[in-house]
Symmetry: C2
Subunit: 340 residues, 2 copies
């Protein structure tokens, strides 16, 4: 019986082979004979040897691990992005550590510290909505630590971002509503702390402007990304005159708003048409007529990871911004038929 963990030295002693050879064998070095390898791996299995990655990582100064920080895993968009990240990473022999910031700046900061203390090789991050200054990031970027931002852009000139063209997508979905006869389009926006919601808001305004529709401040309803917000948003929208369409740039608000409207027996899209950003499969279930801009979440994850690997392998750190194409999903014709 052995107390504590088995090390290569235990194998070494039992076999009378030096621990360096054991190490090489276990790493499948070509410089060890097949016979020795077999003996060693047999003994390793017998003793229940379990490699100590910490020691290995410390020694080699390589962890083969990437850190991922996202607001919440429960959001479909992020869960799907993670799937893309993991697939790409695992294929390349990398491990992935997933962390949630819960959209808290403080937590985000701590997570970055922890990931760096654990010497991850790079970080893929979608910054929290509370994050308005980037001091906690600049320090590491200055040292050439690879950081890839996705979904929520971060100073696009100075960083590597993987995003969609939020302005354009927002413009198109708004115009889609206009083409279908809707005039009084409420916009549910998100926290204006981040470029993402700023750009979506700009796209909405630009579409209105192009078609010479008025831009009314009270028609732009801002909120956080919480489920509760949707109900508030819906109530506010109902208090406005003549609303015939809602374009929500914010999944959470959209879904819970629809839920609320339904519970009040306010039908969608007969009285109100919904359109908006959403990767939540639920939205289609709640309202099959919903028009949505689906972001390529899985692909985003893959692309971000590949860019990170590029940077790691070629030791480059260029700050390019990659823009992916979203998909406008028009589930059925939701034209406005009655002109009241």
């Amino acid at each position: 019986m052995h107390k504590g963990k088995i090390t290569i030295h235990d194998i070494s002693k039992e076999l009378g082979i030096d621990s360096s050879t054991v190490s090489r064998a276990l790493n499948n070095s070509p410089r060890v004979s097949k016979k020795t390898k077999e003996k060693i791996s047999a003994k390793a299995k017998e003793l229940g040897y379990q490699r100590n990655s910490l020691a290995s990582k410390l020694r080699t100064n390589k962890t083969h691990t990437i850190g991922v920080i996202i607001p919440r895993i429960s959001r479909h968009f992020f869960a799907s992005a993670i799937a893309g990240i993991e697939e790409t990473a695992y294929d390349a022999g990398y491990d992935v550590i997933i962390c949630q910031s819960l959209d808290s700046y403080e937590r985000e900061q701590k997570l970055i510290e922890t990931l760096l203390a654990n010497r991850v090789d790079g970080i893929i991050i979608s910054i929290s909505m509370e994050t308005t200054n980037y001091n906690h990031l600049d320090r590491y970027k200055a040292n050439g630590f690879p950081m890839i931002f996705f979904d929520r852009p971060c100073e696009t000139e100075k960083n590597t971002n993987v995003i969609i063209d939020d302005f354009q997508a927002s413009f198109e979905v708004t115009e889609h509503l206009i083409f279908n006869g809707y005039k009084n389009i409420v916009h549910f926006s998100g926290p204006q702390t981040n470029l993402l919601y700023q750009n979506r808001c700009k796209g909405y305004k630009a579409a209105l402007k192009k078609h010479k529709y008025p831009i009314r401040k009270e028609y732009i309803i801002e909120s956080k990304l919480m489920e509760e917000d949707g109900i508030e948003n819906a109530k506010k929208a109902l208090n406005l005159p003549n609303v015939d369409a809602i374009y929500s740039a914010n999944d959470m608000a959209a879904i819970s708003a629809m839920q609320y409207l339904k519970s009040q027996n306010i039908k969608i899209p007969e009285q109100i048409a919904f359109a908006g950003f959403s990767n939540e499969p639920v939205s289609a279930v709640i309202e099959p007529s919903l028009t949505t801009v689906n972001q390529p979440s899985f692909e985003m994850g893959k692309v971000a990871t590949n860019i990170l690997f590029d940077q790691l392998n070629n030791n480059t750190r260029e700050n390019k911004t990659t823009i992916l194409e979203p998909t406008l999903i028009i589930r059925n014709s939701s034209s406005k038929t009655n002109n009241n």
Copy 2:
């Protein structure tokens, strides 16, 4: 300028203080004077010192990290359980590594290897649906490595499990349907590889038996936990005569089945009543009349983590099974009114 990472030795040299003192100071040891501590932490900040957790963990043989393996983060139940785990762990100063098995046995095995190689202090796991033998777990449990199973029970006599009483919950929801006048209740079940779905199935049968209703094999429809399965399930159910209620023990199947039925304009619950397990908030949105058994996912996470900490702190490994109470949510009266 310094190339590479700053270590305590860099601070030590710059200050002419031994690295052991630097280490003590950085760990806030009471055996270092306040003045020295201040000097050291100032210099650390100045140099951009970033502690190397790997070295620390290797040396102390303590990682203050727990591993969590769940099938998928995108499932609301698991995302919520993770929230409970993280909250408890962070409060205790522990880090959490989240991994998804994607319900693959092979992947689960590898993840366990990786977590153990990284010397996590314990693992909280909800085993994959493909997992039918526990060899990959027994080896570590035999060594006294702490493993807490939750949601999906694993050999309850031999392990520490945190579960709900699936039999009882299933019995109650089935009986609830019976009390409301439903007679021909289809049961959507999950993979029979795991006790969980076995027990839910038994509960269903027991309720029928108690009320002297026939148990018909074709009324029990088994499937995996995939979204696609729901559609198949729904089709199968529609082919059966006289179905007036469906009790799904499987969230995914339930949701996509409802989605399918809706798309076919088959109304719920007028022709068919649904009831079942679900922590997905969406279910309430899709069908406000749905009766569901909600599992205390967040609490499960907290409880599992606390049990793990108990075992770690008191160095005990008793195999008790903790049974939590689910909530039967009856959203509105879904009695069968017409007796056709």
